[in-house]
Symmetry: C2
Subunit: 223 residues, 2 copies
DNA sequence: CGTATCCTTGAACCATGTCAAGCAATGTGG
DNA sequence: CCACATTGCTTGACATGGTTCAAGGATACG
């Protein structure tokens, strides 16, 4: 199987020769739910591209609580921040849904950046997008209430993973993971989910969450 | 005066010809304390390089409270995120200390990125560094107490602006600005500053803050 | 020298975190 | 296939850190 293809967003626009070279030097890896792709604090020797599956980026605070920074889905790359600045990984990446991941050594990445201006620009765009979202995130957590952030988180999940035909989110997260996204205690998430349920905005079935009233949810998220 | 020089970090390593071209196309601007370089939500036509002075990046939340995302000092660039992804600015930049700023049109920036792989890489490194800090920031605000974050903020200010010979921070910020960094109410900052004072960790003289016991401050910040 | 801005403190209130306990669901080994 | 263990979910009671409001004092600036 070719690991890196024209279809994978960031590698769009590479020449056949560049692609051929990348595939020579890259490796496919498989992970089950709960497994770790790489650990916070370790030195990465390259970047990882998600071919299939869902991976969460998390950071452990002093008390051990896990803060979820973002998710990687099919086509996303992981670990480029550490690779680029040559630092240890600032997050741990754990698999949420069985994943196939492609590993690409740093030197290949650097070669591409230096030789292909368009590629460098795409990478730069990815970094800048993430930066914008991270900045938003800081302001949100600092200024908004837990309930507002929970509403936002649900909308973000919808944006990232879509809804199925019955308006259920296509990802199933534990309450603890939801708490990790929102930046709060598990119990708080549970209570606010119940409230949203009572207000007929969502419906909950175990880990499956149905977004019943997206308009109200949006109103709530922008308060 | 030449606006862009070899001394300005990001432009290090450019050829004489590239520098000459940049200077042909860039403009110098001056700002007093409180003035705005550009507003959140506006489309930027280029990036801004700080030649001299201090600028804060801020975001206004729903209730109008201002969250300070970071600072730019001599040699730093501002607005590249918006320029790169071609979005409106996600922050407002306001001058804290009288500043001289150089404006460089986007097309010049893009030309450099595409033609000079090393330059693209430096930009990428800047973006990645900011990204790492933003991620840290998210976790901190989500998990740490106000006092801990205040301690961290003071250490960050030390790192960014250094101390003078008497261990006073070389920036003077209002309590409200401090609150904007920490992500809390002005009153909370005041109360926690008083506590730190009572614990002989800092000393306060109007807006001037002296870091008396940096070890204790560090211990406090990592709790 | 007066006005505006900033700083400080107290008191009341509230959102959120923490602790504890019980239940549900899921998985594992005998 | 059942019993037990583990993990996740839920709820209640309580503690508390932090915000908000109000009022007065200090400071800076034109």
């Amino acid at each position: 199987m070719t690991c890196i293809s024209q279809h994978t967003s960031i590698f769009k626009g590479l020449t056949d020769k560049e692609l051929y070279n990348l595939n020579l030097n890259s490796t496919l890896l498989s992970f089950k739910r709960g497994e770790t792709v790489y650990h916070q604090g370790t030195k990465l020797k390259g970047i990882y591209c998600v071919q299939q599956g869902i991976v969460k980026f998390l950071k452990r605070g002093a008390d051990g609580r896990e803060q979820i920074i973002r998710f990687a889905r099919t086509g996303d790359i992981m670990g480029f921040r550490s690779a680029i600045v040559n630092e240890t990984a600032c997050t741990t990446t754990k698999v949420i849904e069985e994943s196939v991941v492609c590993f690409l050594p740093s030197q290949e990445l650097f070669k591409l950046i230096k030789e292909n201006g368009e590629f460098a620009l795409s990478l730069l765009k990815i970094a800048c997008n993430e930066l914008g979202e991270a900045n938003d995130h800081v302001t949100d957590i600092a200024q908004k209430t837990v309930k507002t952030r929970l509403a936002e988180a649900l909308l973000d999940l919808k944006k990232n993973f879509q809804l199925d035909e019955d308006n259920f989110l296509k990802v199933n997260l534990t309450r603890e993971e939801l708490a990790g996204i929102v930046g709060t205690a598990t119990e708080s998430v549970i209570r606010h989910l119940s409230e949203l349920k009572a207000e007929h905005i969502i419906e909950v079935n175990g880990r499956r969450i149905r977004l019943k009233d997206i308009d109200k949810l949006k109103k709530m998220a922008s308060l």
